[in-house]
C-alpha cells in the first residue's frame, strides 16, 4: 500500500484544521485529502456509494480497500510516522469499541465542535 485517499468534509472547520495538521505530519504512507462528494471523489471512485461518506470519515487505499469511521481514523494514524504505534493499540478489540463511540460522537457533532472551538468559517 503506497497511498491512502482520505475523503474529508471541507465545510467543517474542525475537519479543515485536522487536514492542516495532517499535512504537517511525517508520513509512512502518502495521504491524499479529497473533499467528500466532490467531482474528484466521484471520478476516482465511480462505484462507491458516496452518501455515507458525508456521515463518517472514509479512507480508501490505492488498491481500493475502503475503511469507514473508526477504522478510517485508525488507518490515518497508521499512515503517520509518529502515531503508527497508536494505530495498533487503538485497533485492539478492547479499544476499538471505545474508538467507535468517540469517533461517531465527534463526527455527529463536528459542526458544533467547530463552532465552539472557533474553527467555523
Amino acid at each position: 500500500m503506497a497511498s491512502l485517499i482520505v475523503l474529508y468534509d471541507p465545510s467543517c472547520g474542525l475537519c479543515r484544521r485536522v487536514r492542516e495538521w495532517l499535512e504537517e505530519q511525517p508520513k509512512l504512507v502518502e495521504l491524499n485529502l479529497v473533499p467528500v462528494k466532490s467531482d474528484e471523489a466521484r471520478h476516482r471512485f465511480p462505484q462507491l456509494d458516496h452518501e455515507p461518506t458525508l456521515n463518517d470519515l472514509t479512507v480508501i487505499s490505492d488498491q481500493g480497500a475502503v475503511y469507514y469511521g473508526p477504522k478510517a481514523w485508525v488507518m490515518v494514524l497508521w499512515a503517520l510516522g509518529r502515531y503508527r504505534e497508536w494505530s495498533y493499540r487503538l485497533a485492539t478489540p478492547e479499544l476499538l469499541p471505545t474508538v467507535r463511540r468517540i469517533v461517531s460522537l465527534i463526527s455527529q457533532h463536528r459542526y458544533q465542535i467547530s463552532r465552539v472551538a472557533g474553527l467555523a468559517r
Binding site: P46, K71, M75, Y88
Partner: protein, 133 residues
C-alpha cells in the same frame, strides 16, 4: 601501603574489570539486534554499536572515578572490605541501570524498524474500484 590505598586500588581494579566485561557483553550481543534494525547493513550496525559502547564506557568510568573518594579513614581491613563492598555495589547498580537502558534503546530501535513495514491494523470494510486521478 595504607588500608585506604589498597582499598582504592582494589576498587579501581574491580570496577574497571566489571565495566569492561559489561561493555564487552553489550558490544558482542547488541550487534545482532542492530544488524536486524538496520536491515542487514552491518557497517552501520557496527558503527552505531561502537558509538553506544563508547558512551557506555564514558558514563561508567566517569561514575567510577567520581565515586572513588571515601571521605573517612579506615581503621582496619574489615572496614576496608566494607567500604569496598559499598562502592562496588554502587558501581554494579549503575552498570545494571546503564545496561538495561541500552537494552531499552535496542528494543525501541528494533520496534520502530519493524513498525515501518508492518501491515495495516484493521481489515477493510469494503472494496471499490479506483480510477487514476
Amino acid at each position: 601501603m595504607s588500608v585506604e590505598i589498597i582499598t582504592y586500588l582494589i576498587y579501581l581494579a574491580i570496577s574497571i574489570a566489571l565495566t569492561i566485561w559489561v561493555a564487552h557483553t553489550l558490544h558482542k550481543n547488541g550487534r545482532v539486534f542492530l544488524v536486524d534494525v538496520f536491515h542487514g547493513n552491518e557497517q552501520l550496525a557496527d558503527s552505531v554499536n561502537h558509538l553506544l559502547v563508547v558512551g557506555f564506557y564514558l558514563i561508567n568510568l566517569g561514575y567510577v572515578s567520581l565515586a572513588l573518594k571515601l571521605g573517612y579513614n579506615l581503621a582496619s581491613a574489615q572496614e576496608g572490605i566494607e567500604a569496598l563492598s559499598v562502592k562496588v555495589g554502587m558501581v554494579l547498580i549503575v552498570l545494571g541501570g546503564m545496561h538495561f537502558f541500552n537494552l531499552f534503546i535496542f528494543s525501541r530501535m528494533r520496534r520502530r524498524a519493524t513498525l515501518r513495514h508492518a501491515p495495516p491494523p484493521v481489515m477493510p470494510d469494503a472494496f471499490t474500484a479506483v480510477r487514476e486521478a
